[in-house]
Amino acid sequence: MIAAPEIDLISLAPVLVLSVFTMLVMLIDLFVGKNKSVLVFVALTGLLLAAVSSFAKTDWPVSSFGGSYVVDHMSVFFTMIFCLSSGLAILLSVDYNKRENIRVGEYYSLIMFCTVGMIILASSTDLIMIFLGIEIVSLCLYVLAGIRRGDTRSNEAALKYFLLGAFATGFLLYGMTLLYGATGTTKLAGIAEALSHAEVLSQPILVMGVVLLIAGFGFKVASVPFHMWTPDVYQGAPTPVTAFMAVGPKAAAFAAFFRVFTTAMPELAPTWEVLLSIIAVTTMFVGNLGAIMQTNIKRLLAYSSISHAGYILIAIIAKGSLATSALLFYMLSYTFMTFGAFSIVILLGRAGKENLELEDYSGLGFKAPLLGLAMSVFLLSLGGLPPLAGFVAKFYIFQAALNEGYVILVVLAVLNSAISLYYYLKVIVFMYMKEPKGDFQISLTPITLIIIIIGLIGTVQLGLFPGPVISLAHP
């Protein structure tokens, strides 16, 4: 007799709501004429409703579908971050798409599909679900990166990302298979249970599985040595997509990374702790040192995002409940400052001339003082200067690591923060200390202004008054 499956649609509410709205966007796209702005409203409504509906269950943690899906404070907080970042990405794209002539119907629906994948990724406690989530996210990103089909750089980015991404997916899937082979289950809780038996723990294929998982996740979060795609893809992809990639999908990958390693494999921690520590340190160094010589702002931010992946890896190494809330806080602050910085990058571009070289920023501080100030705030926050959000976020992660006794790791991370200030300040030096080369033609639309203001409020608010958000992030 077939046992009835355990189905809990209320847990799935955000996924369902968002899927419905995604399809709505595609359908409405067929019926509206030239003016597509109604799509933006539909998409934003969907994201908002998804965010609200994630509170449909409040007695966290709720596990459903036989332990493959969970609603807990981490998944809900991440859902908030995803909806926020996707909303910001959509807003950021409105003017950009008009400028670059990108068809918006599919564009918005792909971003929303991607968000569905991210929510699944952050809420799943089953390897197969995690794999599916990663695939949904990746597929959408491959297409989004190449959505400017007339632009060779965009094509190149998409193709590179696709080839390497498929390669990495192979690693990930193989790793999951080996883990399944060793433990006989794909549920994270089940794996943890199986690993508590010594005869399972001693199997050599487990180690292979862990390493392959690290490689697969390492690619998604852009950690060394799986980071090589990042600068090329970030540079080639349309700028709003780059901003989106740097925040949402990365946060989702970290959520799954964190969940898999801390809930399924605490028994294997001695192995992967060392590995992840080495990877984290090299990631920070490669990211920060690589950024120093960059002259293209998008590449610079790409390397900067690599180095941030290194800092966030420390949260995974630190484990524990403090590390969870540190991870959540970091991702939220990172969302604000990254979108803020990228919105200004987009603002400086024009049709046919994107103005992405550092030279193009010369004198911005005098010509547009408020924009220059905003950009400085975002960059300094990325660099981790008090009293901005980036500082509190880093501080929080470092403290989680210190509590677990990883002093050397933290010291190296702090050293890296100091190095990173060099290139963030370099941009600021360009803005304030060099003579402007040409005229800035900045057309500040209300939408971009809103994004910049949201970014600023977030960056400053999380820096000065982190208390409420910290208590939200804390289980």
Partner: protein
């Protein structure tokens, strides 16, 4: 009352924010006076704090922590926005805001012609704010914040004239050196947190005596890392090369930041953390040794410089060396006392030099000066007072503080004969280079007759006169300083050592330096008349043995010049500068390497991924 102490931070911050935002709309002079008012207000509030402290018994004056707002609260850790009022912080603040106020007033005259007058005052207020954060911090976190902020303010002010290439380079150099120090401090803070589970001064210093054995590995490391920060900020060997270059900034900046306040922060740090340093006698010896070596090396370089500001810069390094010697041998309040007197006379020297440069239309080479005593009488007299104080002429401020240091170099807890001997030599050098500078600048005839030197306006000379008064009489504050600060240093008041022999030798060394300068620089033919009139008895003696000049030249001047030149060229240019530049170059190389690695070829990327994964796998399997 203590809750008002937040004004000390808020006033300069207000000044900075409003001047940097609305600076262009402020009328020129108003901006300057506004900035002065902010600093003056901070000084008045500090005086209030002083009065409040005096209303309590000495033992109760410690540890008044004022919390404004709990910033970060999480499990196991909290970070409060709070400041610490105690005798040490109030003492330091009196100097910072008091001398700072005088220099602000002076700057109104000095920077009068500058286009970016208000931007300058914005930065100056930023500096006062940063320095107040550093001094008032109630934990190591805000100490480091202040530490980094003063570095930033110093960077902005050194490079204030952005069109001046050398100034920008100097600013960058200072910044890099200071970041080295900041990183050291940061790591020290992490270690402190690891050991004490807190960053609060109160908790840490209370726990320190029982947490370690003396000369424990970890306390040695912590104190050593703190010292890296202290030495970088205070320009001690080997992290000193940025200070002479920093003279590219406007002269009031040199007076405020690079003489009176910021560069002495290292001494303040050691004094503040005395509970930690007491547990690490090895580190104390290191401090005293580095201090006395810096005093000698910087003094010897100062003897051969021709740029008026560089001479004073090297002199500053040398004097801070004395302060480190004092705290290193365990007499913290003597170090703080010298810090105070030094702030008076060194600020005065710099301001006087600024007045000279101002009057000479931006000429800084002392070989082109001379005879300024007639053209600039007020500057001349105040400069003379400052020189006497610096040289340690009896009964001036510098005499008292320096005598105490020299005495304690022998009699202090960690003192010994070597420290004392080297200190005496450094005292002699001080007398020599100070008066060499003085004679070159003010005596004799003008060497550039076409220059039309003129006395500076009252807004510049008034601060000079006040500081001159303090330089003359500040020395008598000694006993007050010691008793006021003693609660912070565990109730210890440095003993007065009655050792006439040592005292006489030290005074003789100072006099000897002055006389040597007189002998060499006052016996030129054009100066004979003046020397005869001023120093008749000595002159007689010298005149009769005029050939001694050549012997001097051969025995003293040439070797001293050679040593100074050697120190400057080899030790600095090749040694330290080279290594700093080399580090920068290597970092850029690595960065370029990473860019080249990024070849853009997908096949290579994939290969890299496989190679990376295989390496990890191999590492795990064989680990």
């Amino acid at each position: 009352m203590y809750s008002l102490s937040w004004l000390i931070l808020l006033l300069p911050l207000t000044g900075f924010l409003s001047l940097s935002w609305f600076g262009k709309r402020f009328p020129k002079l108003l901006g300057g006076w506004f900035a002065c008012a902010m600093v003056g207000g901070a000084f008045l509030v500090t005086l209030l704090m002083l009065a409040q402290l005096y209303s309590e018994s000495p033992a109760d004056r410690l540890n008044h922590v004022q919390t404004l707002y709990p910033w970060i609260v999480s499990e196991g850790f909290s970070l409060n926005l709070s400041i610490l009022i105690d005798p040490l912080s109030v003492f330091m603040l009196l100097i910072v805001t008091g001398v700072g106020f005088l220099i602000h007033v002076y700057s109104i005259g000095y920077m009068h012609h500058d286009k970016e007058f208000n931007r300058f005052f914005a930065y100056m207020n930023l500096f006062i704010f940063a320095m107040s954060v550093l001094v008032l911090a109630a934990d190591f976190f805000f100490l480091i914040v202040g530490w980094a902020l003063v570095g930033l303010a110093s960077y902005l002010l050194i490079g204030f004239w952005t069109e001046k290439k050398s100034a920008v380079l100097a600013a960058r150099k200072a910044f890099v050196m200071n970041v080295i120090g900041d990183v050291g401090m940061l790591i020290a803070a992490f270690m402190i947190f690891e050991h004490f589970g807190s960053l609060n001064y109160v908790d840490v210093f209370k726990a320190a005596p029982t947490a370690f054995f003396p000369n424990d590995d970890s306390i040695l490391l912590i104190t050593f890392l703190l010292l890296v920060g202290a030495f970088a900020k205070s320009a001690q060997i080997p992290l000193h090369t940025w200070l002479p270059d920093a003279m590219e900034g406007p002269t009031p900046v040199s007076a405020l930041i690079h003489a009176a306040t910021m560069v002495t922060a290292g001494v303040y740090l050691v004094a503040r953390c005395n509970a930690l340093f007491t547990m690490a006698p090895f580190t104390m010896y290191l401090i005293a040794s580095v201090g006395v070596i810096t005093a000698i090396v910087a003094g010897s370089i100062g003897m051969v410089q021709y740029d008026i500001k560089r001479v004073i810069a090297y002199s500053t390094m040398s004097q801070i060396g004395f302060m480190f010697l004092a705290v290193g041998v365990g007499v913290y309040s003597v170090g703080m006392f010298h810090l105070m007197t030094h702030a008076f006379f060194k600020a005065l020297l710099f301001l006087g030099a600024g007045s000279v440069i101002h009057g000479m239309a931006d000429e800084q080479d002392i070989r082109k000066m001379g005879g300024l005593r007639y053209a600039m009488p007020i500057t001349f007299i105040t400069f003379l007072i400052a020189s006497l104080a610096l040289a340690g002429f009896p009964l001036t401020a510098g005499f008292f503080s320096k005598e105490e240091i020299v005495m304690n170099a022998y009699h202090g807890q960690y003192g010994n004969f070597v420290f004392w001997g080297l200190a005496v030599i450094a005292v002699g050098m001080t007398g020599f280079y100070t008066f060499r500078l003085f004679f070159y600048t003010f005596m004799g005839k003008s060497r550039t007759p076409e220059a039309k030197p003129h006395e500076s306006p009252l807004v510049m000379t008034a601060p000079l006169m006040i500081l001159a008064g303090l330089s003359l009489l500040g020395g008598f504050l000694g006993p007050w300083v010691h008793s006021f600060l003693s609660p912070v240093f565990g109730g210890a008041v440095p003993m007065h050592h009655d050792d006439a022999m040592l005292e006489i030798i030290a005074v003789a060394a100072a006099m000897g330096g002055i006389i040597a300068a007189v002998a060499i620089y006052m016996t030129g033919k054009d100066q004979l008349a003046f020397a005869k009139q001023m120093l008749a008895p000595i002159y007689e003696a010298l005149y009769n043995k005029y050939y001694i000049d050549e012997i001097y030249d051969f025995l003293i001047v040439k070797p001293v010049k050679a040593i100074g030149k050697f120190m400057e060229e080899r030790a600095e240019k090749l040694g330290i500068d080279f290594s700093v530049d080399e580090v920068g170059r290597q970092v850029r190389e690595v960065s370029r390497g990473i860019s080249i690695w990024q070849s853009g070829k997908v096949r290579i990327y994939a290969l890299n991924m496989v190679a990376g994964m295989v390496t990890i796998l191999l590492f795990v399997i064989f680990m």
